[in-house]
């Protein structure tokens, strides 16, 4: 603390003439505090010293433990003085010092004396101080006085006790709850604030008792609550009761009349609280809204900024759900655009954008243009988003809105703001065909002078998709080619890709694009090895390498400038969306060594990896070498693949289609823990039993799993691989392989028995006895279900994928799912039954919604793509109905999906 003091003195110099605390220094003030010990106290002097100490604390100065203790003890001496002013400062000081428990004892008796003093000020303040610094044990001693204080004639004393009660309820609820009779009496107090504090405390005491809260509200809404603050509280409690009542009964909303009557209260804070409460009611009707909107509208033209702000903020929220209800306020709103307070102006504009009609758009845009230059980016983003939704609402007005967006795109602004604008333009181009050419040109102009690499690459990519489809694609070429010269490697690479797309899609441009791409070959950035790798990684644009990309595109376009048939593979490569998880490509590429054999993208597993949680429990157990089998159960797809291909018996099974998540075959905490992973091949199924021996005194040898496949007729056992020994806490794997008909999703039930020889082990020495006993251990049954044949593979755009598969093999049917806990529960049950990948976040069901649509995608065994659209509905007694639409490339598969649901 010593070193900043010098600096502080410097700071103080500028304000020399102002401050009575000029040059104040902690050490000196602590010295001064010795006057507290004088036999003849000078109250004035002591007050000044305390003020100085409080000033230091307030400025952020801290006292060491010793200093604080010293000051505390000195201050306690001051209880001798009868000067009220000094006593008040003593109270403040004690609260600031927040003394420790053993220090508290020193002042307790003085404070308790003050609590029973005749002076109201003493009583009130002593209560607040004592309750602030006390702990539970002391509280029982003073409880009696506190209960008296709650019903004290003096409102200041009563309030002090009640507010202290509210604070104490957090630490010692059991004591405070005993005061509810007194608190109830205080609710009836004639003093406004006592009523407020009593109501707050009473509600907090009873908040977990719904019935009591409801009773409290019922009685108070009939009676008269004097304090506006208490009335605000009552409104909050009432809305809580309304919300809870609404879930159990329907019909007329209880207490609405009370809320509405509060709109005519004389205090503005109550009117506003009630209006806001009404707008936030669940499923509020227009009729209920109208009176609330009317009072808020009056507030809009108030002279008080706070009132205008409160009103416009609330109306802005209402406009999101009930835009029509707010339109009446539009004229008042428009005048707020020029409000001095920019927060109010922004809220007004965004509200207007939500409620405005087609004819007012142009006028509105004019007003906004003037306004945009003097608000902060955070407000601008809000406005841009509002304009985007307005444009989608009134597509005919795209011209003025698009112009507006392009204008603000050229002005100064940070990344988030620019991104919001670009995103908006892109969305408008997608959704409003007329806006396309205009919008693309705006974007082209923007990338001419864009400092954000991310935005440039996004725009270039977008140009590549949309540009070639326009009436005159050639006009974009110049903009794109300029990027190849003037930008960093990432943007250059993106520009090359875009050029190639133009070349591949527009025949007329091929020769010109070819010339341009040729030039790109001289790009200096060439740390390349394989163009394939780069190309794949361009999806993670940080590795993109321009030169090699240009080479590839030259191959695509045709090396001698002629128009050649671009074959499907290359086209897919350029334009198709990659349906392989990037993480998987990355791993595969890392393992790939440049050699004779080209990298085969089809060898990359398509399964979306799920994070193996169980794996994390046993860290640091890495396989010793590449040849050695891993010691822990590997659970990622490629790890499984590696493991299985290392076992000669399974090497001719072909490519692994899918591995299931581990299924537990034992209860938790049994002697032997076994789970199983189902590996699905085209003609085989391999069960991988992961076993752990949890008994330190045992060693298991010759461990096998005896599988009874009598309830799985289509399966025939072909191989099994027992475990020679299973020591304590060192997991091992047993495998069993079954043959099944090719490409058929055969299902069945398998019962399993663990058979082994047990040998005793001395856990202290590790010695193993020679003789063992044969033993068996029953495991739970294992099922192979249809979902095992479906692989989770996501699609990036479900609608496009759905359309492109087409309705040839569509199967639609409806199912009743019977009574369910909730819609969300039904949805997740069907998803796990089908074992498919939810798309576009549709696995999440909104709270309280009555219907839901869920989109799933996956690949069925035999590499058949399957898409599923599920529509759920729930009615009163939790009966869930479901409509299932399946599209796939094979009608058998579509039927199969229905079978899974029908049998599940």
């Amino acid at each position: 603390m010593a070193q900043p003091l010098v600096k502080k003195d410097d700071d103080r110099d500028d304000e020399a003439e102002y401050s009575p605390f000029l040059g104040i220094e902690k050490g000196a003030v602590l010295q001064e505090a010795r006057v507290f010990n004088d036999p003849q106290l000078d109250p004035r002097r002591c007050s000044q010293v305390i003020t100085k100490l409080l000033y230091l604390l307030n400025q952020g100065e801290t006292f060491t433990k010793i200093e604080a203790t010293e000051v505390f003890f000195a201050v306690t001496k001051l209880f001798q003085s009868r000067d009220i002013g000094l006593r008040r400062m003593v109270y403040l000081m004690i609260k600031e010092l927040s003394p420790s428990a053993d220090e508290v004892i020193i002042v307790t008796s003085s404070l308790m004396k003050d609590m029973t003093s005749k002076t109201d000020m003493y009583r009130a303040n002593a209560i607040r101080v004592l309750c602030r610094i006390t702990d539970g044990t002391l509280l029982t001693q003073i409880e009696r006085y506190l209960k008296q204080a709650i019903v004290d004639k003096n409102p200041v004393v009563a309030s002090a006790a009640l507010v202290s009660g509210i604070h104490l309820l957090e630490t010692t609820p059991e004591i405070v709850k005993r005061w509810s009779n007194e608190v109830q009496e205080a609710v009836q107090s004639r003093a406004a604030l006592v009523q407020f504090h009593a109501l707050a405390l009473l509600h907090q005491i009873r908040q977990n008792d719904r019935l009591a809260v409801s009773k409290l509200v019922t009685s108070l809404t009939r009676g008269t609550v004097r304090s506006p603050l208490a009335q605000c509280l009552l409104i909050r409690y009432t809305t809580q009761v309304i919300r809870e009542a609404a879930t159990t009964q329907t019909g007329d909303r209880p207490f609405y009349d009370f809320l509405e009557s509060c709109l005519r209260h004389k205090a503005e804070m109550v009117i506003f609280e009630a209006a806001r409460a009404i707008t936030e009611l669940n499923g509020v009707t227009n009729r209920e809204l109208t009176p609330a909107i009317t009072v808020l509208q009056l507030f809009l033209s108030s002279s008080k900024p706070v009132l205008r702000f409160a009103a416009v903020r609330t109306l802005n929220k209402v406009a999101m759900t009930h835009p029509m209800a707010v339109t009446n306020c539009n004229i008042d709103m428009e005048s707020l655009i020029s409000d001095q307070n920019r927060s109010i102006a922004t809220l007004a504009i965004t509200t207007l954008l939500k409620t405005g009609n087609e004819s007012s758009v142009d006028r509105l845009m004019k007003q906004i243009t003037n306004f945009m230059s003097d608000i902060a980016d955070e407000f601008k983003i809000v406005v841009v988003e509002a304009i985007r939704s307005l444009c989608l609402k009134f597509p005919l007005k795209y011209r003025s809105l698009m112009n507006f967006l392009s204008n603000i795109l050229r002005e100064e602004g940070g990344f988030e703001y620019k991104k919001a604008i670009v995103d908006s333009i892109v969305i408008l181009i997608r959704d409003i065909p007329d806006a396309k050419e205009n919008g693309l040109l705006h974007l082209c102009e923007f990338i001419e002078d864009c400092e954000f690499t991310y935005l440039s690459t996004q725009i270039l990519h977008f140009l590549g998709t949309e540009g070639p489809k326009t009436s005159d694609p050639s006009k974009y070429i110049r903009y794109i080619y300029n990027r190849v010269h003037l930008e960093n490697a990432t943007v250059r690479a993106a520009a090359v890709s875009t050029l190639a797309k133009f070349g591949a899609m527009v025949d007329a441009l091929k020769p010109r694009v070819f010339v341009l791409l040729r030039r790109c070959l001289y790009d200096g950035d060439d740390e390349a090895s394989l163009f394939f790798i780069n190309l794949l990684l361009m999806y993670k644009s940080k590795f993109s390498i321009v030169r090699d990309r240009a080479t590839l595109y030259l191959n695509t376009v045709g090396s001698d400038g002629e128009v050649i048939e671009t074959d499907k593979v290359v086209k897919d490569f350029l334009f198709g969306s990659l349906d392989i998880p990037l993480a998987n490509i990355e791993t595969s590429l890392k393992n790939y060594e440049p050699a004779e054999q080209p990298f085969d993208i089809n060898s990359v597993p398509k399964e979306v990896k799920t994070q193996p949680l169980a794996e994390k429990k046993a860290p640091g157990k890495k396989p010793a070498g590449l040849g050695a089998p891993p010691s822990g159960p590997p659970s990622t797809v490629d790890a499984y693949e590696k493991l299985l291909s290392s076992i000669p018996e399974f090497s001719d099974f072909g490519k692994l289609f899918k591995s299931s998540a581990p299924v537990e075959l034992t209860e938790a905490e049994t002697e032997y823990a076994v789970n199983v992973v189902k590996h699905i091949f085209d003609r085989h199924v391999v069960f991988q039993y992961n076993c752990t021996n949890t008994i330190p005194e045992q060693l298991l040898e010759n461990v096998t799993v005896i599988v009874d496949a009598s309830e799985a007729e289509e399966f025939a056992e072909v191989a099994s691989k027992p475990l020679r020994s299973l020591p304590y806490d060192s997991p091992g794997q047993i495998f069993g392989a079954f043959e099944k008909p090719e490409g058929v999703p055969a299902v069945g039930k398998f019962s399993n028995m663990l058979r082994f020889i047990v040998k005793e082990v001395d856990p202290t020495t590790g010695d193993v006895e020679d003789d063992g006993v044969e033993d068996e251990y029953q495991l739970e049954d294992l099922e192979v279900v249809a979902a095992d044949y479906v692989m989770k593979v996501g699609v990036s755009n479900f609608r496009n994928a759905w359309e492109s598969i087409g309705p040839d093999f569509e199967r639609v049917d409806e199912y009743g799912l019977g009574p369910r806990e909730s819609l969300a529960e039904a949805v997740s049950a069907v998803i796990s039954l089908l074992g498919m990948q939810p798309c576009e976040g549709t696995e999440v069901v909104a709270n309280n919604s009555r219907s839901h649509t869920c989109l799933l995608s996956g690949v069925f065994i035999g590499n058949v793509k399957v898409l599923v659209r599920l529509q759920f509905g729930i009615d009163g007694p939790k009966e869930v109905a479901m409509k299932l639409a399946v599209r796939s490339e094979d009608d058998n598969v579509s039927d199969m999906i229905h079978e899974i649901v029908a049998s599940g």
Binding site: G85, L307, Q340, S343
Partner: protein
């Protein structure tokens, strides 16, 4: 929003954004540097606005801040995002007017620092641990200005100024009834 209205902090800064007196009731700003950073942000955001005739309002870091300026003093009251703005404004007005009464109309930084004890007591009487204690400026000032001697003390021991203060207290009391 079923909870009691609560105040996160009350700030009294000078015209350069430096502290005159501040009081924090919430743990949103645990360290002194966090507090100072917040004060700086609030001050910068509001300094160019005109909050001299009517209280103004702004949002910052998910908080609603109402504020009012007089001379070289800036008064702020902060509440949560969902707090009723008018309740915050009432607290601000109570603080603002009470300081005006206590400083007898000479509301500026110099006067405030010279009577810092009154300002600190005033803060103490408005809000207790985030809960609004009192919003009526006359009552707040009355409680603070009862700066007299213990009622038990004989009248002769009072100085003239103390006697005046007692008289003023009696006056405000009688006004309230």
């Amino acid at each position: 929003m079923d909870t009691c209205p609560s105040i996160k902090n009350i700030l009294l800064l000078d015209s350069e954004g430096k502290r005159v007196a501040v009081k924090y009731y919430s743990n949103d700003w645990p360290t002194n540097s966090a507090k100072e950073a917040f004060e700086k942000a609030v001050f910068t955001k509001t300094q160019k606005t005109n909050a001299r005739t009517e209280a103004e309002i702004a949002m910052l870091e998910g908080n609603v801040i109402v504020y009012k300026f007089v001379q070289d003093l800036h008064f702020f009251v902060t509440g949560g995002e969902d707090e009723n703005e008018l309740i915050l404004a009432t607290v601000l007005q109570g603080f603002f007017d009470a300081v005006g009464l206590l400083l007898r109309g000479n509301v500026d930084k110099k006067e405030a620092l010279e009577n810092l004890d009154l300002i600190l007591l005033c803060l103490d009487e408005i809000v207790d641990g985030g809960i609004i204690l009192e919003t009526d400026a006359n009552v707040i000032a009355g409680k603070v200005a009862s700066h007299s001697v213990d009622v038990g003390a004989p009248l002769s021991e009072q100085t003239i100024s103390q006697a005046l203060a007692t008289a003023r207290e009696h006056l405000t009391r009688s006004l309230l009834k």
